[in-house]
Point group: C3
Chain length 187, copies 3
């Protein structure tokens, strides 16, 4: 296959994105989950590439979070997995621990920068243990639980995500320029 054919093949591919909302109360029906809808709305607004969301609403159980991350990447073929919830210091908050347990590599810049972004809005952003990691050819990011904070975080970090997924061998993702400007260095 010529390189130009391969490029257009990658562009035609549909990408799969895992959306995991992690909350004891939302998963047991105590209240309605607002995490997955917030993720879907943001991605619909931002992505030019066709995408399919694969959603899971689960409690704050470390083993289950790990198994869900592995399933979405290794079996469902997601190139990107976004989690929401469970990143704080409370004993039931175990999302970062589960994420690190299935990671091949940690990208410290994501955790640092996501906290910096949220610190503009609330001083307790310092308490978040959220991480960004690579597993195989996929990127996993731990986002905050609140819809407003999800949007603030994705607005701030998404410009770097398509190039990251290029570098780890994932599909080519294009954004709607009016919503978010993906940055790729010139060769």
């Amino acid at each position: 296959m010529l390189e130009s054919d391969f490029h257009s093949f990658r562009q035609r591919m549909e990408i799969r994105i895992g959306l995991i909302s992690i909350s004891d109360r939302a998963s047991s029906g105590v209240y309605e989950d607002k995490g997955i809808p917030a993720l879907k709305t943001w991605l619909d607004n931002a992505l030019a590439t066709r995408w399919t969301g694969i959603s899971r609403l689960i409690p704050d159980e470390r083993d289950l979070i790990e198994r869900t991350l592995v399933e979405l990447i290794d079996i469902q073929g997601c190139a990107l997995v976004l989690t929401t919830g469970g990143t704080g210091p409370a004993p039931r908050d175990v999302t970062p621990d589960a994420t690190l347990a299935v990671a091949d590599r940690v990208l410290d810049g994501f955790g640092e920068q996501m906290r910096q972004i949220s610190l503009k809005y609330v001083p307790t952003a310092i308490l978040s243990r959220q991480v960004g990691v690579i597993r195989k050819n996929a990127l996993i990011l731990n986002l905050p639980g609140q819809p407003k904070a999800i949007k603030e975080t994705l607005d701030g970090i998404f410009p770097a995500i398509p190039y990251c997924i290029d570098l780890i061998g994932g599909p080519y993702i294009e954004t709607k320029l009016e919503a978010i400007s993906a940055f790729r260095p010139k060769k």
Copy 2:
């Protein structure tokens, strides 16, 4: 116990705060310790909740720092332990190593943000290895050694500390609003 009773019970409780000054020279009497007085002055000025300080002045010995942290939390019941000194790159600086050794969880945001705060004043703040960690129901924070830097750091990060201690099951801490504004998200 009703929730409102429990709330006022927590507010009536006296909180215990560990203050550890770590310095070979101050602990051997070569010069006077200025760390513990600086911590006490800051806390007296900032806390509305009644508090008792439990102070230790010790040399830069990793085993002794670890044992002191464990004693202040596990035996003395401190909800917060503030250390001062020993966070740099010199071979005798071992405070962060001792702190990590007794930690159940690391809150990376504290190390990052404490360095960011000090970087506004001195470029060598980049060299600090200071960390914030959870042990059981207590928060441990490594502060700088200089009284001026102690104040700058606590002014910057303390708004997030009462809520952190809420989340890990510690006592309810109230601040004097004119000194420091503790932030707790609305439910």
Copy 3:
């Protein structure tokens, strides 16, 4: 030896600085290495102390990077080793992994601050896994691959480096004041 004699002895010493460019393509001759020349130009412009560069141009092989770091510090006696290249998320990028493998201690502030500096220029700086570590009496820093980014990073962090090397028992480094102002706290 009197302290003043020791001080002037340290100042007369020539310092040795390791310069490692890590790139499959530059090391195999596909293109010309621009990393080592950029490091040399920057150091010639910034250092008042006499210095000797010990350069290595090697591929992105983790074992070889580790052995090169060890050789430059343990055998060649470098007080500072600057690497360029290989810090991203791509599978062949292994410079930080090799650096951490030979480290005695990690100085998290360097990774954080180097990313913060580069984030002013490109959003994909968040993807860099670059670290700063201590091995024995030497400091190792992972710099970006591009000459422009090398200069931006060194301009930002070098003020803290001479004092860091003082603290870990290395030679006394002086900078040209018009180029870079090394910061050392007053005693």
